[in-house]
């Protein structure tokens, strides 16, 4: 039960990291495009 919990936690951390990286890329891209002249 404890091992399962740890595995679930590491998958959740990985998903959060991927989401954060993608969100950072999109945020910088949108900001850059909006300020493109």
């Amino acid at each position: 039960m404890k091992k399962e919990g740890k595995e679930k936690t590491s998958v959740a951390v990985l998903r959060t990291a991927v989401s954060a990286a993608l969100a950072a890329l999109l945020a910088i891209f949108v900001f850059a495009v909006a300020n493109y002249h």
Partner: protein, 272 residues
């Protein structure tokens, strides 16, 4: 390409504070949307979002004439708004869950395994009560909450705040008693309230044999992050509702597993 990075650099250097705040807000928005889509198995929509942002970005950069930064923000905002509308129920659940505490009544596991023994007892009591009610065709709905039930729902019933026991659970749902028709809310080691009225699901595709009790179980899990255990009055069938979806014909093992997930995850979180 160079102009793209020059524009970014100029915007950052001309007013760094407002640039950082804008990027932080955009990051928060995109982070929420991507995690929302991940949680709801809509990863394909993340790919569409990335493609949409990139394509409209390239088109915007190649537009002739006067351009306002807001125009592009609105173009991206329209897509995000559409996603938010599509997942309105899940967002409502997130908002309700914001103030949720982890089950406060469960003690930190001690060296002698005291909390573990307590949890095993709670699980045994709930399983015993549910199976007895199922055998005798007594209708019941039990909500496994984490202190995240809206106050209005709790106040629609009677606050009990008592130890979990199969005898008490069965007594509450015994037909013709004043509280038997509402839902019982369990918060960790306590029966928090009983006789509570829950929001009903408006889902039109539910099987006809599911009555109001099942609709209430599904309805509450659509908007609040809780698990509902339902015993049918007509058939004695035990069902489990989670995240707006119902699983019927639940046996004692599945019921025990669901309760373990509810209690043990909490203990594991506390241990970390």
């Amino acid at each position: 390409m160079r102009e793209f990075f020059n524009g970014l650099w100029n915007a950052l250097s001309s007013n760094a504070t407002s640039a950082i705040i804008t990027i932080a807000l955009l990051f928060a928005l995109f982070f929420y949307v991507t995690t929302l889509l991940q949680r709801n198995n809509a990863r394909w929509l993340i790919a569409i979002m990335v493609a949409y942002v990139a394509a409209t970005g390239v088109l915007f950069m190649n537009l002739e004439g006067e351009k306002s930064p807001l125009q592009y923000v609105f173009i991206v905002g329209a897509f995000i708004l559409a996603v938010l509308i599509l997942f309105a129920t899940e967002i409502k659940r997130d908002i309700w869950g914001m103030g949720a505490k982890k089950t406060p009544e469960i003690k930190r596991p001690d060296r002698n395994g005291g909390a573990e023994r307590d949890v095993d007892r709670y699980i045994d009591e709930i399983v015993k009560a549910t199976q007895n009610m199922s055998k005798n065709d007594v209708g019941a709905i039990i909500i496994l909450a984490n202190g995240n039930m809206p106050k209005a729902v709790v106040e629609s019933g009677v606050v009990i705040d008592s130890e979990i026991s199969s005898a008490l659970i069965e007594s509450v749902f015994f037909p013709k008693t004043p509280l038997h028709d509402g839902a019982m809310i369990i918060n960790g080691s306590k029966i928090h309230a009983a006789g509570c009225f829950l929001p009903l699901s408006q889902e039109v595709n539910l099987p006809k044999e599911l009555g109001t009790r099942h609709r209430a179980g599904i309805g509450v899990t659509e908007t609040i992050n809780v698990t509902a255990l339902i015993v049918s009055e007509e058939t004695g069938i035990i069902s489990i509702a989670r995240e707006g979806k119902i699983k019927r014909y639940v046996d004692s093992e599945m019921l025990r597993q669901t309760l373990k997930e509810y209690y043990w995850q909490e203990l594991l979180d506390n241990k970390d």
